[in-house]
Amino acid sequence: MAELEKVGVPTVAFVARSFEKDWQASARVFGVKTLPWATAQRPFVGLDAEDIYPLVDAAFDMVVKRLTQPMAQEAEQQAARPAEVIAVEGEDRYAALEQMNRMFIDQGWGDGFPLWAPTRERVDAMLRGTKRAPTQTVAVLAPGKGIATVEKIAANAVMAGCQPEHLPVLIAVVEAISDPRFMMRNVAMSTGAHAPMMLLSGPIVEKLGINTGRCALGPGAPSAVNTVLGRAVRLIYMNLGHAYPGHMDLDTLGSPTKYSMCLGENMDANPWDPFHVEKGFRREDSVVTMFTTYALSEVEDNYGTTPPAILSTTALSACNAGVKSVGYWLCGWRADPDARVSVKDKHLLIVCPVHAAVYKKTGWSKQAIRDYLYKHARMPFAQLIAKTEAAAFRKSHPHLQWLWDSPQTLIPILETADCFEIMVAGGMGGRSTYSYGAGEPVSQLIEQ
């Protein structure tokens, strides 16, 4: 709607009352200070037409008014931006730190856990982890178009508990998530709980002490580095991307996966090329790959001793129609209208060492696994289309409309075999993990 206003078309949009603040914030980001809206008392989702019509009737006079009369200046006043250096008082250092934590939470700058203080000295120490200038802009980060400078990344790294040697990883993360293929605006703002997952591969894994084995996704001492890196990513989403809960992050429920998710590739158990080599990097490179995940599902199989046995269980885990990206391809591709980029949804299978050993023993390649999952992770069209907008399916796949007459036809949950990403991590147990992704993972070289 902002783009239409910019080219001279007066607009008005229905906005549910609970989304009004976000609408105003988004309008400012998209360049129209007062983007007109008419309030609907609740969202239209989950309602039949007979329940939607009264909502429209009640808002109709406002629709007319917004099309015909200029809207008053935005009702919501933006709070003044706090100073770049903030003085926090306390009786002693501990009291001042507690006060800083209260203030940062009040401002919305924290994840809810205690934060380390981003003092000048600590941030300067963090900055010694990179050769880049503190003022360098690494990216303009969606959804809020925050200017992610090296220094701002460093400040958030300090708050998360990171060390200077972690900073190059976080700089690469910002580069990855600002890639249009990552669909940051879409995944950060959605009502779905899209959680960032960091996968590290290459020499950096050992160098930083990233946990690749038992309990790699945490919590606890073995994953201490994983934890603070993932936590820093969450703070970056909020303080650099301006995706704050309830304000450009409109999750319905949220998810504990959004606090911190970071793991390294288990090369001791990996029978294939390193993940980053598969992505076109050199073996000696260190690479971070950023995924977005809706949810994780266990793939428990302690009995399968052949790839088809294990992958049959995996396919059952994959066929979870309640997850948005299962069968999403039927209604089209995820898209960024500004960059005009469209991508397929991809899922990630995290293979545990016990299962990896079966693939190694039998000589199964990653491609063979992908092909198997593509052929066996299928569901009836009727089940996949039930939660999908039929109009979007008609627009995106006019050649597949015959499926309405054959509703039991088995449809792959992902569009092509290459939509299944695979890597190895975890300890010794017959438990792989299936991650339902959203959009395209993006791999980024970490500067050493």
Binding site: F104, G146, H242, A335
Partner: protein, 96 residues
């Protein structure tokens, strides 16, 4: 004791744009109805179109969707330019 800490929040790129001039009247106008495929939006726009046509003589409507996307179809800048040549105004159901 005073603890000095850095503000961790990034400055924003501020786009400078303004709203379009409003329509002096709606009679006889062609009004677009933009649906991004969010559930229920089509019904809301259908009703809005009915109400507009009932109240304003000669008003016509047309349903639009964006050209790219999946469960949310988005308008691109090119879409917006094309629509600006067709519609006097637009009613949207784009969010929740």
């Amino acid at each position: 004791m005073t603890l000095h800490v850095l503000n961790p929040v990034a400055l924003k790129v501020e786009e400078k744009g303004s709203s379009a001039p409003r329509l002096p009247r709606l009679e006889g106008k062609h009004i677009g109805l933009y649906w991004n495929f969010k559930a229920g939006g089509d019904a809301a726009l259908r009703r809005a179109g009915e109400l507009l046509q009932a109240r304003y003589a000669g008003l016509t409507t047309k349903l639009y969707t964006g050209s790219i996307g999946g469960s949310n179809h988005f308008l691109t800048k090119d879409d917006a330019k094309r629509i600006s040549g067709e519609c006097a105004g637009m009613v949207g159901s784009t969010a929740d």
